[in-house]
Point group: C2
């Protein structure tokens, strides 16, 4: 199915934004029961339309192969029966999560008798810009729906057929089961102009969440007049302290690097205290090599691991998302913290240590969304934290930091009940 | 004292941002005791240097008068002995507030034994752009200091002499008492180019808070690559429902409009249910007139209050900040909510009613930072909410909504304690 060219892009994007804003009013006051009915219908229709969606996905894969996409990207965009199952299961699990809307976060009575209730409300309209993986379309849509937000989804052009097929099913479900037929809006064009136009709709859209590489993030930050929550890269570190249990350190490092290297919470840089470098580095290096990991070390690392490539300044700032690891020997905790705060992306960083004072300092002074003692950085994930599902990992400090789940898709309002109070001064 | 021209503006702004970032590392780990010592020194030196600061302020007033500033603006920028006292008292009160940093907001243990602690941390570097009132320089500085943030302050050019004099005193206090001499940075130039440069320092600055009129806000939103929390205008409504106690309604409306009309939480538009318009409007209109309020009404209002001026579409979107009130008769709750969500600025809106169902719908469906039943909108204020002090009123939905006090000047990190846990799947 070829893309129909859109004659008037500005009018099209206006309409998408306006529909989402209209739906958001209905969603904000929809009961948890009403939202769950819609979610159940979505699960039902996703099951019913599996063949159609997989067919559309196969079309994306064919087009991607023809246009020379890398195997890694092709893999990311491909849905098979198992992945499809897990996508639908994810949507089903959201039905069971607690609706965050309406929670009274705090409540108190003032001396003048006013009752103030800080009450959780939806954000309104959430726009999500993402790349390749079509399952994000379902994940994002159901999390926004559950948290009472209308959403505008803009996926990558590589998965446009899958996304359109999924969006049709979602729209059918909303038309049948409510709470509003326009609650989930897919931007149906891959034209980049549409993104630029969308980013100016600050009256209709409350927040933009870009999930993707530096190019996408940069563009959104520069063009958007809407508040942005960046889901940027993870340059995650593990620092092996002088007092580390080196067996534990090896286990944690191997897991953080190799268990799923293409994720944002995988380790990209290993920092080792100079006192344990000779004991630790040669052994972990060969274990990494056996696992297919390419090492890029500083001078001191290469004295101990001569076969490692030389790391350059750029390596410390690189998210490989691959079986590559940069390694640096540091003088101690101070240099490790300094390195992380200088080169890291404030995502997830770990220390392996037996020294309580070192642990405390690391936890206090490393300025990242998740700071670990004696555990793998791979745990930074909504599911692993017990949030049930996540829309991604925020690398921003405002509003949401780290895994962003249902609660982070909400804001609050102050509900104030009086009996005629006026202000005297 | 004439402004020294800055030769290289980019280098100057770089230096301001770099100093603030450096100080922020020390502030983030400073104890509450250390921060309170600095606050006490600030109070001491503000007392000692009152004459000098008032002299600088008199210079601003002279320059303002010479350049033809309005009396209202001159009043806003003028510090007298009483206002000076209240500014210093405000700073002293912050010493007594609880330090929000380090609070464990939530903590839980996962099935695999990982202990997760969601822990409150400072934002880092906060830039505040504001207009005329020089007391904001002290208010913002002490709140940022108490919450462990370095701050960059950029006041209006009308109060540059006052701000420089205050900044010198603040810098002296920090130099003497810590925690870091660069914790409070004043942008010492009134050159607008400095703001543009500042707004691109997203590596050094974590959040920008613009407090001011539409021009300032618009510019910041368009130019900033740093996250922004807008302190925009308050187009606040009071809706008098059919079931309202009309005596209570009159008392609330008079308070909301006239008690301090130049504040953002003052009422700008009165909405009246058509069923009570004939009983309510003529009486409140003469009371308003007696208080010097100009009325601008829709057609139905002017049938009942012939002397009211005619309101045009623009009036519903205007924050008068003055003794002017727009008035509209509505068919009922639906039209009132629709009007508020269409024309309001999502700041503070009130219903006066005896009908519980009307109250509930108003509270749920009006999408504003503060929604009131039977009380004056004038209560939207950090002090009135019991927060002790505020940096302003956020009209954004992300991060902070409504009064923004110490807690809203913080973010959080996840502190995760393991004993060798790795991720299996």
């Amino acid at each position: 199915m070829a893309e129909k060219p859109i004659q008037d892009m500005a009018a099209y994007v206006d309409e998408v934004a306006r529909r989402a804003r209209t739906a958001s009013r209905a969603l904000a006051t929809a009961s948890a029961a009403a939202k769950n009915r819609a979610l159940e219908k979505i699960v039902e229709l996703l099951n019913k339309n599996e063949d159609e969606i997989l067919k559309a996905n196969a079309e994306d894969a064919r087009a991607g192969r023809a246009s020379g996409l890398s195997e890694a990207l092709l893999d990311r965009l491909t849905l098979n029966a198992k992945r499809y199952r897990s996508m639908v299961d994810g949507a089903r699990e959201v039905i069971g999560l607690v609706d965050p809307v309406g929670e009274i976060i705090r409540g108190w009575r003032r001396p003048n008798g006013l009752l103030i209730q800080k009450t959780r409300t939806p954000l309104g309209v959430v726009a999500i810009l993402y790349e390749s993986r079509p399952n994000v379309t379902v994940d994002a849509a159901v999390l926004c729906l559950k948290s009472g937000n209308a959403c505008i989804l803009r996926g990558g052009k590589e998965s446009i057929h899958s996304n359109r097929a999924i969006a049709r099913v979602l729209a059918d479900a909303l038309a049948e089961a409510g709470p509003h037929p326009w609650a989930i809006q897919l931007v149906e064009t891959t034209d980049r102009e549409a993104v630029g136009l969308l980013l100016k709709h600050s009256r209709e859209i409350d927040v933009v969440i870009p999930r993707g590489g530096p190019g996408l993030i940069q563009r959104v930050v520069e063009e958007s007049t809407i508040p942005v929550i960046k889901h940027y890269m993870g340059i995650c570190h593990t620092y092996v302290d002088a007092s580390a249990d080196l067996k534990m350190a090896a286990k944690i490092c191997m897991n953080a690097k190799t268990q799923r290297p293409a994720t944002c919470n995988a380790m990209e840089t290993l920092l080792v205290h100079e006192k344990v470098a000779a004991d630790f580095l040669p052994a972990i290096a060969s274990e990494m090599r056996d696992a297919g990991v390419e090492l890029r070390g500083d001078q001191n690392t290469r004295k101990l691991v001569p076969w490692a490539k030389a790391a350059c300044e750029e390596d410390w700032r690189t998210e490989y998302l691959d079986l590559i690891l940069s390694v640096r020997v540091v003088k101690g905790l101070d240099e490790a913290i300094e390195h992380i705060n200088t080169y890291g992306s404030a995502h997830s960083d770990a220390i392996v240590t037996s020294d309580l004072f070192a642990a405390n300092r690391f936890l206090r002074e490393v300025d990242s969304a998740a700071v670990y003692v004696n555990a793998s950085t791979r745990f930074t994930d909504g599911g692993q934290f017990g949030f049930g599902a996540e829309i991604g990992i925020s690398t921003d400090k405002l509003h949401a930091r780290g895994p962003m789940a249902l609660e982070e898709l909400t804001t609050y309002k102050y509900v104030i009940i009086g009996e005629g109070q006026i202000r005297e001064s």
